[in-house]
């Protein structure tokens, strides 16, 4: 019975979604499969290296339906079927997207109202294209969710000057719903400006709250968050550099002395060198440096420096010349600063080296 746990919601979702799709003027079916090998080791000071992880897995198995009901109304329904050891049958299922886009509902050119389970327009998380296997910084450090339930107004500024989004979300991410949610929504504003070709500047602001519903049981858990993000992207020829700054301010309103309040912040710099125009083969060399200062609260503070190096080989392309099949190799080294981290991070106890190799494949076809 337990093995049917994820099949039931899948069938239910299909039953609810299929009738709606029959009205679609156009229906695009697509998917994305990420097969990954992960090897991770740790080597505390004075000890031999220990292997923490060494496994193959289907990390993502997206199945995607994109119906177009009219020129102004379209939708997206995406599920993620993935390997997991939390289920007896080894497979998990997550709803990733389930939204409807209404264009021109409000008489502002290029504005879309999106309702449902959708992207969170914060920082770089909403257009993170996984040039590296690792997640966007805001996702990696649990600052924002990649998708959430809500309503947004998003659109384009005139003449390709950029884009914007304002929205309200549940705030707990795409994995949470119903009783697990607190009563306060999350509010978001985002802007991206492209003043000249090759220069993109962006900023995001979000307010959120955590565990407000549990304050009756444990009032001390209730926290209010203010999240800010600044990003810049510089692209010139084969070089593309992404930069991001994240700031998180957490306040515990029910703890009067403010002893648990803290701030966290981080930066990320990611240069990408595309060799396609130089050598003909579609190969990318990528570096990434992250510095995440988790908290200034002495009990669980840490300062994490992460260096990632990666190579992508895109060996099949779609008609738009975007990668369709990609082989990725990443080396990730995480090191906790001895002086700025609490004792549990000292002596390289949690410093890890991770090697990941991933074969990623995308497909899509318009079937109606």
């Amino acid at each position: 019975m337990k093995s049917l746990k994820w099949i039931v919601p899948a069938i239910a979702a299909i039953i609810f979604v299929m009738p709606a799709l029959s009205f679609a003027q156009e229906l695009r079916v697509g998917g994305e499969i990420w097969n990954r090998w992960t090897y991770e080791s740790v080597k505390p000071e004075g000890s031999d290296a220990t292997t923490l992880k060494n496994y193959f897995a289907l990390e993502r198995g997206y199945f995607d339906l994109r119906p177009k009901f009219s020129e102004n109304t379209s939708g997206r329904f995406t599920v993620d079927m993935f390997s997991t050891d939390s289920q007896k049958d080894g497979a998990g299922l997550k709803l990733k997207y389930g939204f409807i886009d209404f264009n021109n509902l409000i008489p502002v050119p290029d504005m879309t109202l999106t309702a449902g389970l959708q992207k969170v327009y914060f920082g770089t998380i909403y257009d993170w294209d996984y040039s590296l296997i690792t997640k966007a910084p805001t996702d990696e450090y649990k600052v924002a969710n990649s998708a959430d339930y809500g309503i947004t107004l998003n659109g384009q500024l005139p003449s390709g000057f950029g884009e914007y989004a304002v929205g309200v979300y549940n705030g707990e991410g795409y994995k949470a719903f119903g009783k697990t949610l607190n009563i306060s929504p999350e509010f978001l504003a985002n802007i991206r400006l492209v003043p000249i070709a090759g220069v993109t500047l962006g900023g995001s602001f979000m307010t959120n709250s955590v565990d407000q519903d549990t304050c009756v049981v444990d009032a001390s858990k209730y926290q209010k968050q203010m999240l800010m993000d600044g990003m810049a992207r510089l692209a010139y020829g084969p070089v593309d550099v992404w930069m991001e700054y994240i700031y998180k301010d957490v306040e515990y309103p029910n703890i009067a002395d403010g002893s648990r309040d803290y701030t966290a912040n981080g930066i990320m710099v990611m240069p990408i060198l595309s060799l396609r125009s130089l050598i003909g083969s579609d190969i990318q060399l990528i570096g990434r440096y992250d510095r995440w200062d988790h908290t200034d609260n002495p009990k669980d503070k840490y300062l994490l420096n992460t260096i990632t190096g990666g190579v992508n080989y895109n060996f099949m392309h779609d008609e738009k010349e975007s990668p369709k099949m990609q082989l990725q190799l990443n080396l990730v080294q995480k090191a906790y600063d001895e002086d700025e981290s609490s004792s549990s991070y000292a002596g390289k106890k949690k410093d890890t080296t991770t090697v990941m190799m991933q074969l990623k494949y995308k497909f899509s076809s318009t079937i109606k």
Partner: protein, 273 residues
């Protein structure tokens, strides 16, 4: 530190050993995009290569959106399009360091076509919209025979559809019974073989097997398309990264020249001037 040095060495070795001979040659021009612009681009490329044998021009279709995406990805020199570039596409280009420049290369009209046996000669834009949205289902409602209307449309990814959607449909939803076809030729062929059919296609694709009807009392002609009195007139474009220079610039200047515009006319489209 040792690992970092090893990693750097691997990267440098990769850079040095990869086949640098594969670099793109300056006498190679690649274009892709609109299927409407395709015959103009192909004919112009052939004429240009005859004139300058050292230049090699590759022309592909795929649709306006495909061409723009390829320009964004830096894999083509010219994106052919039967519609202007959208704000979202401009922003996506700019954020990748691509500065799009737009060159009109021809005028075109979207011709409304019916089966030659159909007696209807003229439709208003509102009637076209009502037909395509399923409100009018029989030709006798617009002065024609008692015959069910068969709606033929282009697929929604095509630039021709986008222009038709903007100018005729006003973004209304196409009726679910419509056949959405992937090319202008397919539309013309289907309409020619289906007595109750109505379709639309770039003027350059229209042949004697179908009947072109007036829209709002205006016949799509060179004069009515140039002065934009024909309601479904449009321009056809080539987009480049930055101002077109070198061989790319020369090729576009060639298409816009008197010689190039003769090619445009020969392909059944309307010249710029």
């Amino acid at each position: 530190m040792k690992k970092t040095i090893i990693l750097l060495s691997i990267v440098v070795a990769l850079l040095l050993t990869l086949p640098l001979s594969a670099q793109k040659r300056s006498n190679q021009i690649t274009t892709s995009g609109s299927t409407t612009v395709l015959p103009i681009a192909q004919a112009a490329a052939e004429a240009y290569m005859d004139k300058y044998p050292n230049i090699n021009i590759s022309v592909r279709g795929g649709g306006s959106g495909v061409g723009v995406a390829a320009l964004q990805n830096g894999t083509v020199d010219i994106a052919n399009s039967s519609r202007p570039m959208k704000s979202k596409e401009i922003a996506a280009c700019k954020s990748k360091g691509i500065s799009p420049s737009f060159y009109a290369i021809a005028n075109d009209g979207i011709a409304m076509v019916v089966h030659p046996s159909n007696t209807v000669k003229n439709l208003t834009v509102a009637q076209i919209r009502d037909i395509y949205t399923g409100k009018i289902k029989n030709w006798n409602k617009v002065g024609g025979p008692n015959l069910p209307i068969v709606i033929i449309s282009r697929d929604v990814a095509s630039g021709t559809f986008e222009v038709f959607n903007e100018k005729a449909l006003k973004s209304a939803k196409v009726d679910g019974t419509a056949q959405m076809l992937a090319s202008n030729n397919a539309v013309v062929t289907t309409v020619a073989s289906t007595p109750g059919a109505i379709g639309y296609a770039g003027l350059g694709y229209v042949n004697k097997d179908v009947k072109v009807i007036q829209v709002a009392g205006v016949t799509p002609t060179e004069a009515t398309i140039k002065n934009a009195s024909y309601p479904l007139s449009r321009k056809l474009y080539m987009f480049t990264n930055g101002k077109a220079k070198g061989e790319i610039g020369k090729f576009i200047v060639f298409i816009q020249s008197a010689e190039g515009q003769e090619i445009v006319k020969k392909q059944g489209f309307i010249s710029l001037n």
